[in-house]
Amino acid sequence: MDKLLIKLMNSFGISGKEDEVREVIKERLNEINQDMQEDDIGNVIVKLGSGETKIMLCTHMDSVGFIVNHIDDDGMIRVSNIGNFKKEDISHSFIRFDNGTLGKIYTSVEGEFVDIGVNEKEDALKKVSEGDMASLVGPYLSVGDNNVISPLLHNKVGCYILLKLIEYVKVENVELDFVFASQGEIGGIGARIAANNINPDYCIIVGTENATNADKRKNNINIDGGPVLKIMDSSLIMHKDIKDILENCAKLSGINLQYSISTGRSEGELVHKERIGIRTGEIAVPCRYKYSASEMVSINDIEDTIKVLKQLENFKETT
């Protein structure tokens, strides 16, 4: 599996504290001698090409996580969620704090607790204090026919796709603005600000979409079934122009798309209402067990998404 993806998966990045994952992204951009900008909210922006049309490709760097509320007398660390996810899905998983301290999390009716293996509040305070952030952590498994299981694939996969595109795309007469946005999981804050500053003609969000698994058998999205166009979710209805653009790209690259209608939310929620409105849509990699302690994607879908989006280098307005 590509070392870049592994590095991204291992870097700490929670909404509001994306320093480590931002460094990995910037380091990679330096390795390929690519200029970049960083704005005040922490978005990393790469501009390629120039032309009459501006297309913004956006993904968020941060993942969901936890913040420490209180440390109980017996050394158990009470945390609450950053981002929207079910606490049952992450119970008993491994945890890493932003300063490197390791532990595990379990949830009960009493609340969510991280156990770092101490028995006294004073011992816990030596390692962790109130306000510290924590993230899921874990090994990755390569399984099946080119699939990977790991926590936090959403949204390191999106960052990986944009980094690969920046490296390989050869832009002709269009301006592509790649945005690695901050604070995506808490409402798409960085993406909205980037969209306001860039003012693109089109915005394509790159993310992940829930795929079928044992109890979601009816939603028809399969891993290794191809990239997903999110026709509609709770926050955004894909703009017809974006749909046409992406379907055209898929046709040119010979890749089959899947289509989804779901109840997720994404940065598209704020971006499409920004300024006088921006044509927005999302393309996503199918992902089983999203927001759980171990998610699964197919590397084939990641590579296909890159191939589809690479066709944007030849973008021409049709009217």
Binding site: G16, D40, I67, H70, I82, G111
Partner: protein
């Protein structure tokens, strides 16, 4: 006392005319740079020496909890709904003042000896309550009260106990009082003081004020429910009266700028001011980043503990008032 004047003023969410006038008159005694925007927010600009320094906005909402008259009952009483979140079970038997004419009313509920057992056990709903102004018929009532009239609690402010105060609307007249005293001083920084409307309904006014000012930093000065009391588990005892202001990193999903929060906390540490760090903010209005229609703004909150915040009368400590005022004054003087 300034806080007394503000607490006794009337100004429920959406109907802040009286408190707005009182605040404006107070401001005119020491500054001319006072503006009122379209939503009714009062904005004061206290220009430091250097106009190019970052803009810092300190915001405090002017409105209080109140009620609104929704219909007439046949027996001359009135049905009502709330302006802002209210503790329902605390409403019966409270006295209120309705409308600009300040008509006296009493909140009533179906008498207990007429309720059957199941009614006595379940929670009260607004349909079970009414406001009685002493009218004996719908027509008599219609002459005095109009639909849509607002109502506030009829309580007066007083000092009591060991440096404590009680009164209605301490949420957030205490914040307004601190902000007024802050604005009387001169600072080097580029300071905007905002007294905003509809704070109890999701802090609506603050976003439009921010759109006009485009500040670099927003500090929301508000109250938070204090958690002293019997039977509160240790981990929920996040703040108490006389424990000082609360300066949290986040309020549930509203995450503040860590650097600003840390610099306020450091200032408090340097001055020996006691403060608290985290809160349980369920069901409280919060300053949310994704609603701010400006780019590059750092947010933080300084919250004053207030006991029984959701009730008709609440309690605050003057010690917390003084320490919050001193802390923010020094913080601004350093900028």
């Amino acid at each position: 006392m300034l806080l007394e004047k503000l607490s006794n003023c009337i100004g429920p969410s959406g109907y802040e005319e009286e408190i707005r006038d009182v605040i404006k008159n107070e401001l005119y005694t020491f500054t001319d740079d006072v503006d009122v925007d379209r939503m009714g927010n009062v904005i004061v600009h206290s220009d430091g020496n250097d106009n190019s320094s970052p803009k810092i906005m300190i915001a405090s909402h002017m409105d209080e909890r109140g009620l609104i008259i929704t219909s007439y009952n046949d027996d001359g009483t009135l049905k009502f709904s709330t302006l802002g979140k209210m503790e329902k079970n605390a409403l019966p038997c409270k006295t209120v003042l309705i409308g600009n004419k300040k008509v006296h009313g009493v909140i009533g509920i179906k008498p207990i000896h007429l309720q059957d057992k199941s009614e006595r056990d379940k929670n009260i709903s607004y349909d079970d309550m009414c406001i009685d102004i002493g009218a004996s018929s719908k027509d008599e009532c219609r002459k005095v009260i109009a639909l849509g009239d607002f109502a506030v609690f009829d309580n007066s402010f007083s000092k009591f106990g060991d440096n404590l105060v009680k009164g209605k609307a301490l949420d957030n007249r205490i914040g307004c009082s601190i902000l007024l005293e802050l604005l009387k001083e001169k600072y080097e920084c580029n300071l905007y003081g905002v007294f905003y409307v509809q704070g109890n309904i999701d802090k609506r006014g603050i976003y439009t004020a921010a759109y006009n000012i485009k500040p670099d930093i927003i500090i929301d000065l508000d109250t938070i429910n204090s958690t002293d009391g019997e039977g509160v588990p240790e981990y929920l005892k996040t703040n108490e009266l006389t424990g000082g202001p609360v300066i949290p990193f986040n309020m549930e999903e509203a995450i503040f700028n860590r650097d600003i929060v840390k610099s306020i906390r450091n200032k408090a540490d340097n001055m020996g001011i006691v403060y608290k760090r985290s809160i349980s903010a369920k069901d409280t209005s919060k300053l949310k980043q994704d609603r701010l229609p400006i780019n590059n703004c750092k947010t933080a909150a300084v919250l004053i503990p207030c006991k029984h915040m959701d009730y008709n009368i609440s309690i605050c400590s003057l010690m917390d008032y003084e320490s919050t005022l001193t802390l923010i004054k020094s913080y601004l003087s350093d900028l």
